[in-house]
Amino acid sequence: MAPKQRTPRTSRNPDLIRGVGKYSRSQMYHKRGLWAIKAKNGGTFPTHVKKAADAPVAAKPPKFYPADDVKKPLVNKRKARPTKLRASITPGTVLIILAGRFKGKRVVFLKQLTSGLLLVTGPFKVNGVPLRRVNQSYVIATSTKVDIAGLNVEKFDDKYFSKKVEKKKKKGEGEFFEAEKEEKSLLPQEKKDDQKTVDAALIKSIEAVPELKSYLGARFSLKAGMKPHELVF
């Protein structure tokens, strides 16, 4: 059943000061019309029929009582949710990566994954950064935005980026080094195709803005005289 449309509940008893209402208990009784409800119901207040509580299932007495009282941990009702995204980071924002293999690279933000990490792409053809996850803390958000409308990034989630679990191989002494050489994993063709589709649409919107492509291809670095706390990104 759809809930009735209600105006937000306001009190009929305005505050004179905080903690002191204008009307007394008996005045409020009259104001709320409880006398009318009682009259309609023959002198008594209408009640819901109490549900007969299920008789508690007779629990078997425990076989073992611990010697000392064990303290129970407190109730924790916190829910895990993805990291709060900075207001300056919106889909299509150009971000500067600050750490890792791609430090200094300017990169396009696509979406925030459920783990809280940011999904980001170079695009690959422009600066060599593939579809990748990046932590919000290691990123500067610039105010430059790329038009990302029409880009479908629904299929990318944290599972897409998880490491492949290989079956354990039994290694013999002599085969040790050979096995190591073969373990270099190749990128599955599917991931390469995903990269191409995402980048195709992006590159079109990037080339629409003059000099944006070379901007994304260049790395950011602090030069002499640049004061990071005074720079506007």
Partner: protein
């Protein structure tokens, strides 16, 4: 060596310290040895220490403590805004403000433009050198 800019009623000054840093104000009255009554079209008339003011070359024609309306009219008549923005001091401040507000992308575009300009200048220079050589 003599002073050229005097504290007088109608002198336009630049605030160089405090909440109104960077604002152009008009000295509308002198309170005592250290303070002036100062007014501008977009602020409430108030007192300011002379140490917070840097005098400019611009002076307008007003009586002591005019109405806001009269003040604004006098500023329009003397065309203070344009005089300031065309003066070398005013232009410098505008450029400073623009540079401080540059985006990372803007800075990149400026870098490319500077390189291009330097290239063109160098080409012309080498042409001229060849002529004289």
């Amino acid at each position: 060596m003599p002073f050229k800019r005097y504290v007088e009623i109608g002198r336009v000054a630049l605030v160089n310290y405090g909440k109104d840093y960077g604002r152009l104000v008009v000295i509308v009255d002198v309170i005592d040895q250290n303070r002036a009554l100062v007014d501008a079209p977009d602020m409430v008339r108030g007192q300011m220490n002379f140490k917070r003011l840097t005098l400019t070359d611009i002076k307008i024609d007003i009586n002591r403590v005019p109405n806001k309306k009269t003040l604004v009219a006098a500023l329009e008549a003397a065309d203070v805004k344009n005089k300031w923005e065309n003066s070398s001091w005013g232009r410098k401040l505008i450029v400073q403000k623009k540079r401080a507000s540059l985006n990372d992308f803007d800075r990149f575009k400026i870098m490319l433009a500077k390189i291009k300009k330097a290239g063109v200048v160098r080409q012309e220079l080498s042409k001229l050198k060849k002529q004289t050589a």
